[in-house]
């Protein structure tokens, strides 16, 4: 991969957010390239969720810029998008897997409808095709086709998260945000989800920004890790480098507190 001359998919410079006087996150800069998985780790209140919301343009930054390279090859400042463009981006080229499936799914709509929504939003008007695509995606996230007409109310936590994954990936996005997607799940259920996400990410060449407090999740999924503390990125590097040769005192504390062996 002679890719050093490639352009980044997402380019973040000096991103800063204050809530009044309180700092959300400060001066974050990085580039994300196609197919890269970046984990943002840190404790609650470290600013990682604020950063994710800023990146996904759900929150307006106090200063700094997020630029994204669109499918047409043009890199645009996300702050300059109008609402229609932003929404279109969010449900075509991007995905967002939420910690709480109830925020990421339509709980009153069937699994098939949840997966099909993005397709219909961008103009799909053939019921049979939409349903076939939904069934295919349910299969890919290991949800029994017999559940296609059930609402997520009756789904387990793991199934709901997998349904969220399907709902987000159905349009073949290039960048997916994930906010603690495995928290609250049993360990065995976590493993299944992680494995699924990992293989989908590789097969689809997705870029992913995943926020997690779980360093094991970061190690399994990510290429790079950014460690946040009190709003600042204090360490950033290859995933195994940050975990196996942590430089900062705080990172060493995190690693030694969480990882066994």
């Amino acid at each position: 991969m002679a890719a050093d001359d490639d352009l980044p998919l997402l380019s973040v410079r000096g991103l800063t957010k204050y809530y009044g006087d309180r700092l959300g996150c400060a001066d974050v800069s990085f580039d994300l390239f196609e197919g890269e998985v970046l984990a943002i780790v840190g404790e609650s209140g470290s600013g990682k969720s604020t950063l994710l919301s800023l990146l996904a343009s759900e929150l307006a930054a106090t200063s700094g810029a997020v630029r994204y390279r669109f499918r047409d090859g043009v890199t645009r400042d996300l702050a300059a998008l109008d609402e229609a463009e932003r929404r279109h981006l969010l449900r075509t080229d991007w995905g967002f897997v939420r910690q709480d499936a109830r925020e990421g799914l339509r709980m009153g709509v069937s699994a098939g409808g949840n997966v099909g929504e993005r397709l219909m939003a961008v103009g799909a008007r053939h019921y049979g095709d939409i349903r076939a695509t939904a069934l295919d995606w349910l299969g890919r996230v290991e949800i029994d086709a017999a559940r296609v007409d059930d609402t997520p109310h009756g789904f387990s936590g793991g199934m709901r998260q997998r349904l969220q994954v399907a709902r987000n990936l159905v349009t073949g996005p290039r960048l997916v945000f994930m906010d603690e997607p495995t928290s609250g799940l049993d360990v065995s259920v976590q493993a299944r989800l992680l494995d699924l996400v990992r293989s989908l990410v590789r097969d689809m060449g997705l870029a992913v920004i995943i926020v997690t407090h779980d360093l094991a999740v970061a190690r399994l999924l990510s290429h790079r890790i950014m460690v946040m503390r009190r709003g600042f990125v204090i360490e950033h590097g290859l995933a195994d480098q940050v975990l196996d040769d942590p430089r900062e005192a705080y990172t060493q504390l995190l690693v030694s507190s969480v990882l066994a062996a």
Binding site: A84, R87, S110, G113, G116, M120, H126, Y127, R131
Partner: protein
């Protein structure tokens, strides 16, 4: 004025002006829901307070008013609204579709084609077609503004997934002039095609929800559907039992407690007119003859 102490057509002129402004805006932006300052009316919500305010704002001395409820001119709701305007505006009323200049309706569009110069005023309980899936008003407004109607198809998708076909049979969503998605009020989807390119002006009033919207004459109105589940109107196996009409919307009438029933025109005026012309259905009584239309009030 037939009732002293009240302004013509009950509402004061300032209120009518406000409502007319909302109507003009609604006509200018077909299918768009215009907020208006709905007034308290001397009838409960759900009895057509939105439609009555629209009618009151547009009616003049020379108008001839017809009011129907579920196609019928003689139900309580239709009768009381007709009397209301006969009393407060002193206008002529009729049951004849072709004689009316203003038709206020709950749940039907008459079978007789509307013509240029007529205005049909729909009573609307819930104007927001997206409400089923999106309870937040701020969000539904944004969806309309952004022409973002994927959700509407999610609703139809759910219908087909659950029932094998689009089971929505009334208040079937339409797209007006290729832009705004609109709830046509709880008319049967049978009536949806009548809205398309209609020469009449169509006004919609929702009193409790404080919204007015409109379809100007000769405006395309498309019922939403899927390519492989195209929109289709209800089909009735038999003609009207009284007048023999086909391709009209029929109501089921229970005749006795032994399962006896018949299907008759929901549009009573249409049925009467056909019978007066000598048409007879399978269950028409011998020597059936048309009932005369209800005499106009006022003047």
């Amino acid at each position: 004025m037939s009732t002293t102490g009240y302004n013509f057509a009950y509402l004061d002129e300032q209120t009518k002006r406000m409502i007319r402004r909302a109507i003009l805006k609604a006509i200018a932006i077909p299918g768009y829901q215009v907020p208006f300052a709905s007034r308290e009316m001397p009838m409960p919500y759900g009895w057509g307070t939105g439609g009555v305010q629209v009618t009151a704002a547009i009616i003049g001395h020379d108008d001839v008013l017809k009011v129907i409820d579920q196609g019928s001119d003689d139900t309580t709701n239709a009768v009381s609204i007709r009397k209301f305007f006969a009393k407060t505006a002193g206008v002529a009323t009729t049951t004849r579709t072709r004689e009316a200049t203003i038709i206020q309706t709950r749940h039907r569009i008459p079978e007789a084609p509307l013509r240029e110069g007529q205005i049909i005023v729909y009573q609307v309980p819930i104007p927001e077609p997206l409400r089923f899936l999106e309870p937040r008003e701020t969000e539904t407004r944004r969806l309309h503004a952004l022409n973002d109607y994927g959700l509407m198809h999610v609703k139809l998708y759910e219908d087909i997934a659950r029932h094998g076909h689009i089971a929505t049979t009334y208040a079937y969503p339409v797209q007006v002039a290729g832009r705004y998605v609109m709830d046509p009020s709880p008319i049967p989807k049978f009536d949806n095609p009548k809205m398309h390119m209609s020469p009449a002006l169509q006004l919609f009033g929702a009193g409790r929800e404080k919204r007015i919207y409109a379809v100007p004459p000769h405006t395309p109105v498309k019922s939403l559907d899927f390519d492989d589940h195209p929109f289709a109107v209800q089909h009735f196996d038999k003609p009207c039992a009284l007048c023999g009409a086909e391709r009209v919307y029929l109501d089921e009438v229970v005749l006795d407690d032994r399962g006896g029933r018949m299907f008759v025109c929901s549009d009573t005026d249409y049925c009467e007119e056909r019978r007066a012309q000598g048409h007879a259905g399978a269950m028409a009584p011998d020597g059936a003859r048309a009932q005369p239309g209800e005499a106009g009030h006022g003047r």
